[in-house]
């Protein structure tokens, strides 16, 4: 009994923190429609700032609290609101990406500012006072304060929401944004208040929890997954239910730590419990229709087969170039462009066509890698196919519960899936299934070898790179032809409206299961290639957090475009890696840049996708055969020079890239815009300049009609 009460108290104090953090999530989500993945990271930053002020610079506690809670947190909240304004009208994936960028940016920033090798700790509040004894159980003052603050937050939020003008405005914004705007209230102001309030709550939670855990940027940012579960209990809407959820989660965690029997297979289960609970909560609680049909659906571009074949050829040539030009060690690093591309390509059918946001694709890749290592010990050629099949089955299994979820709930569900894989499944000791002994990532790492195709063993790094490039080209072709097929159109139809799709006789279950299986299969292929490239891989390389940058760049690239996979791979595996390789001192800066860039510029690019923007510039080049031929010859020449070691790698890539830019400039000067782009009549004077003859054309058009 004694023990039961103690665990209960621990659970409640945890619950208090989760409730504070969770209610912050709910406040921002309901008002702005953005599920803030960086909520924990915000709390982490406040905890570090508070540490710096009070411990680092020795300011008194009250002053530190005042500066963090009344100056820094509101300023940061306002800043985030400003940064997110452009994506406000976009889809869930785009909104998610902004907060994911923020998350990774903040973690990198904190690690840059505060050297992770220096141990820091925050003292608990009232550490000098003796604990309060209730019966045989003890409650520390810190725990008591935490619970009191949680209650105060609950009361405060209630008062704010129902007894103030701004609260009413915020609630009104939730109900009908447009109407609020019409009545003269300012939805942007409501958003700003919501962000400030959310940041504030994250800051309070962060400071409270930071003194109980080790002060570590990544750990603090991700520890509060449990708070997400609490928010899901409240269906991201109801604050009281969020508090109930927090209590359930807090107590469950505490009691599981105390009572779960000890067994080889179970510890992982306990570690994965918050994620499992999140998954369960998502499935059990009914989610009304998601708000957010107000965003416009992006058009899915229709790739031509000829263009895709051409694109595939470029990819293969690129692979050949890398394989012949780079040294072995560089090739291992830069050759990863292709496996990452394949993994990112899996987002195209899944998220781009079918609108299903999955954050678990890298886990699927991990499954593929493990399966490939399991079946292809000696480079059996079919191991790659088996890897695809196993990953596809896993994808189909995930798809069935996912049928109940959509939008941000689906993203959370798949995130929970990925975390369960990381913490439990991937770390399982070997077990028996249907008589076969299965080990997933047993000794920490698994070994992969290249396949033997038609009696030829693909084993050197260069061969594997080219093999990966060929696989990427084929997979891209497959995805492009899917877009043109009946099934592709069905997927897009069910993305546009599930209800309409079902009404017209479409089978939602089938469509979703199929597309999840396809996406997982492609990711599995990518995982297998990734493993072959590195020869041995560990489970950590496939964990949830490692998958976030891939999703981030894929969304910025534009999920609908088949070139998105390659774009993501090149972005992730190319420039940033090369910059750090050339100037190692820039590493800290470079690790912060993607996140910051994402936030600063994604708003502008994200609506159409970076690829669409790029294509606008480059399409004329591809249409200009003469220019292409000249470049092709020049490139081949430079390549030959490099192969004969007349120029070095830097000069080679410099010439190749410089040549491409010159080509772009040349084409734009030489060729007039190929065939005047048709601008609809209502956009004249806006999308293109008003021309004197327009007036006459309009007059005539009106006259004819009359």
């Amino acid at each position: 009994m004694d023990q039961f009460v103690t665990f209960g108290i621990v659970g409640l104090s945890l619950a208090a923190i989760y409730a504070i953090i969770g209610s912050g999530l709910v406040v921002t989500y309901t008002t702005t429609g953005v599920f803030n993945f960086a909520h924990g990271a915000t709390g982490m930053m406040s905890a570090f700032a508070y540490w710096q002020l009070t411990v680092g610079w020795g300011l008194p506690v009250w002053l530190g609290l005042v500066i963090v809670l009344l100056v820094l947190a509101p300023a940061f909240g306002a800043l985030v609101e400003r940064a997110l304004r452009p994506v406000q009208g976009l889809g869930d994936a785009e909104k998610l990406v902004m907060t994911i960028a923020l998350l990774s940016g903040l973690i990198a920033l904190a690690r840059w500012i505060w050297d992770p090798n220096v141990s820091r700790s925050l003292p608990v509040f009232f550490a000098d006072r003796p604990s309060i004894h209730i019966g045989s159980a003890t409650v520390s003052w810190h725990q008591a304060v935490t619970m009191i603050i949680a209650i105060a937050v609950a009361i405060g939020l209630r008062l704010l929401m129902f007894n103030t003008r701004i609260g009413t405005e915020m609630r009104a914004t939730v109900d009908d944004r447009a109407l609020v705007g019409l009545t003269g209230a300012d939805p942007i102001r409501a958003n700003r208040v919501a962000w400030i309030l959310g940041t504030e709550l994250a800051a309070i939670g962060g400071i409270l929890i930071a003194s109980m855990v080790a002060l570590d940027a990544a750990q603090l940012s991700l520890l509060i997954v449990s708070a997400y579960t609490a928010a899901i209990f409240g269906r991201l809407k109801s604050l009281p239910m969020t508090f109930v959820g927090a209590i359930v989660v807090g107590c469950l965690e505490s009691y599981l730590a105390g009572y779960l029997p000890q067994n080889e297979y179970l510890p992982g289960l306990r570690l994965a419990a918050p994620a499992l609970l999140l998954f369960a909560a998502l499935l059990v609680f009914p989610h009304g229709r998601l708000r957010g049909r107000d965003h416009r659906l992006t058009k899915v571009p229709l790739p031509t087969i000829r263009g895709t074949v051409f694109f595939g050829a470029i990819v293969i040539v690129f692979g050949l170039v890398l394989a012949t030009v780079l040294s072995d060690s560089d090739l291992i690093t830069f050759g990863l462009i292709f496996p990452i591309s394949v993994i990112a390509l899996s987002f195209v059918p899944l998220a781009g066509y079918a609108g299903q946001i999955s954050l678990g694709q890298l886990s699927m890749a991990g499954i593929g890698a493990a399966a490939c290592a399991y079946f292809g010990e000696n480079g059996q050629w079919w191991a790659v196919l088996a890897a695809i099949a196993v990953a596809a089955i896993a994808g189909a299994v995930v798809a069935i519960p996912a049928l109940r979820l959509s939008g941000v709930y689906l993203a959370l569900g798949t995130a929970a899936f990925a975390v369960v894989m990381d913490r439990w499944i991937f770390t399982l000791p070997s077990f028996h299934l249907f008589g076969a002994e299965i080990t997933i990532f047993e000794q920490g790492s698994i070994e992969l070898v290249g396949p033997s195709v038609f009696g030829y063993h693909v084993d050197t790094t260069a061969e594997i790179t080219v093999f990966s490039a060929v696989c990427l080209a084929l997979a891209t072709l497959l995805v492009a032809s899917l877009r043109r097929s009946r099934f592709g159109r069905q997927l897009i139809a069910q993305r546009d409206s599930e209800a309409a799709y079902a009404t017209l006789g479409g089978n939602l279950l089938l469509a979703k299961v199929a597309v999840f299986a396809l996406g997982a299969g492609i990711a599995g292929l990518g995982g297998a290639l990734y493993g072959m490239q590195l020869q041995s891989v560990t489970a950590e390389q496939f964990n949830f957090v490692a998958g976030l940058p891939i999703f981030l760049i894929a969304v910025i690239g534009g999920l609908g475009a088949v070139g998105d996979g390659f774009f993501t791979g090149v972005m992730l595996g190319g420039p940033f890696v090369a910059v750090v390789a050339l100037w190692p001192d820039t590493q800290d800066l470079v690790s912060v840049i993607p996140g910051l860039l994402g936030i600063a510029f994604a708003g502008g690019v994200i609506s159409s996708g970076a690829i669409a923007t790029l294509r606008k510039d480059w399409d004329p080049v591809f249409r200009d055969r003469a220019a292409l031929a000249v470049y092709g010859v020049g490139f081949a020449l430079v390549w030959l020079l490099r192969l004969n070691d007349i120029i070095d790698g830097y000069v080679f890539f410099g010439l190749a890239a410089g040549g491409a830019l010159v080509l772009l400039a040349w084409v734009s000067v030489r060729g007039k815009p190929v065939a005047e782009v048709e601008v609809p009549v209502e956009w004249w004077g806006i999308q293109r300049d008003w021309q004197p003859e327009d007036e006459e054309v309009l007059d005539r058009a009106v006259a004819t009609r009359g």
Partner: protein, 455 residues
């Protein structure tokens, strides 16, 4: 050995931070202003480094005036520069004394950034004469390449089973040997001599990272062999624990008297805070040698004096001892890297550097990998000039018997009362051979090579 832990718990960020390939050159030039004596003597070793007239470019990375060696590190990921600093200190010191037979040592940092071990190994294979005084958390990923190119490694700290005691790996400092429990003397002392009443209630907590997970079962086997009973065996998420109280309560409920902790010492400090808050005092807590630092004591706060934190340095002289060799290391750091911290792995790295320098020096003009390797293997009682208990480098498959135990106090680390019988160390417990299969190191035969290929 458990160096991986801190890294693995941070591994989350791997996806966020840039991954890339690079190398930074440790500044091997050294300070210009030299102290009074630039002798190449270290502790009891004389003439480790010194001038000479070597001429031959006798092997890869060796020229008439330079020896190029690689130093593995995860510094780009963990931002822990202990191996880089040790390399800088040693090479500066050695080069100032004249180098090795007149050849200057150039240390190239091979920064694996956790995941890029294999890439860095391939680079080292192409350029370096040998690897010295380094280590990477996931070093198992690179052993195959290293054996393929016959690159000897004077590893400061090996981590994964494939790598610990692999062929062509020379462990100058006392190390774990595959198939043995390295802490058996320590455990025996804890359970039989110092705290016999704790033998009936030993607990173990382990981080859930794959690298350390395998250490748990080995520890349990050895504890049982040393006469202990394990009553509590738990994993904690390396990603972080939101509240350690349930674990502390579990430990209290099971009446655990002695606790073995494999993991990040920041987490241990929080666990002890919970234990101390509930007034539960254990007989001993094995904090493992990773915790041997001032920061751990700072984090412990009240628990430093309330709980009894002990750890086994495994036969390396403690930093607070008055051992002249340790004094000299401190002085060298003061001169060449005044801002760097001297850590236990750094001392181990210095030991590796010394063994390398001495062996290379003995080869004279004809400096080859084979010569250095054979010379190093010829050391049957290597003490690194006094930095460590004697290690028989010629017997890499036998666990050394020595240990020395440190105890945390509020005023700093100090030697525990473990009755040393050999200087600072105690070497009377025969090593314990583990029965279970915990992985084996890679051999030259596994990559189709043999010792006769080493030139």
């Amino acid at each position: 050995m458990v160096v991986a832990l801190a890294a693995v718990s941070l591994m989350l960020v791997a996806g966020c931070s840039g991954r890339s390939g690079s190398e930074t050159n440790a500044d091997s030039g050294g300070e210009k202003e030299s102290t009074s004596q630039a002798s190449g003597d270290f502790g009891q070793l004389s003439g480790v480094c010194g001038p000479g007239d070597a001429k031959a470019a006798s092997a890869q990375g060796v020229t008439a005036d330079e020896i190029k060696v690689g130093v593995f590190s995860d510094v780009g990921f963990t931002k822990n520069s202990e191996f880089v600093d040790a390399a800088k200190v040693f090479t500066s010191w050695c080069n100032e004394a004249g180098g090795i037979n007149g050849r200057k040592i150039t240390a190239d940092t091979r920064d694996a950034k956790l995941m890029e071990v294999r890439q860095r190994m391939l680079e080292a294979c192409k350029e370096d004469f040998a690897l010295v005084g380094g280590g990477a958390a996931l070093d198992g990923l690179g052993v195959k390449e290293r054996l393929n190119c016959l690159l000897p490694s004077f590893t400061a700290q090996a981590s994964q089973p494939q790598s610990v005691g692999a062929d062509l790996d020379i462990a100058a400092a006392p190390t774990r040997v595959a198939g043995y429990d390295p802490y058996f003397g320590f455990r025996t002392w804890l359970l039989k001599e110092a705290y016999p009443e704790s033998a009936a209630a030993v607990g173990i907590i382990n981080g859930d990272s794959p690298v350390t997970k395998s250490l748990g079962p080995q520890a349990i086997e050895a504890i049982q062999a040393a006469g202990g009973t394990v009553v509590y065996d738990e994993l904690y998420p390396a990603m972080g624990v939101s509240d350690w109280t349930p674990y502390a309560q579990g430990i209290k409920n099971k009446g655990v008297k002695g606790l073995v902790f494999y993991g990040d010492f920041k987490q241990l400090a929080k666990l002890e805070e919970s234990l101390t808050t509930m007034d539960y005092k254990l007989d001993w807590i094995d904090a493992n040698s990773n915790a041997y630092s001032q920061s751990f004591l700072d984090l412990l706060g009240k628990s430093a004096s309330y709980q009894n934190n002990v750890l086994d340095l495994g036969g390396v002289a403690p930093l607070e001892s008055s051992e002249p060799a340790i004094e000299q290391v401190k002085q060298m750091y003061e001169q060449y890297a005044p801002d760097a911290q001297i850590t236990l792995p750094a001392v181990r790295a210095i030991s590796s550097w010394l063994l390398f320098a001495k062996s290379a020096g003995s080869c004279g003009d004809e400096l080859t990998r084979k010569c250095v390797y054979d010379a190093a293997r010829g050391e049957t009682a290597w003490m690194a000039g006094g930095l460590q208990a004697p290690v028989d480098v010629s017997q890499p498959k036998v666990q050394g018997p020595c240990f020395n135990i440190e105890q945390a106090t509020a005023d700093g680390w100090q030697s525990a009362d473990f009755q040393p019988d050999n200087g600072l160390y105690r070497c009377d417990t025969p090593p314990f051979k583990l029965q279970g299969d915990y992985g084996a190191p890679l051999t030259l035969a596994a990559v189709g090579k043999s010792m006769s290929d080493v030139q």
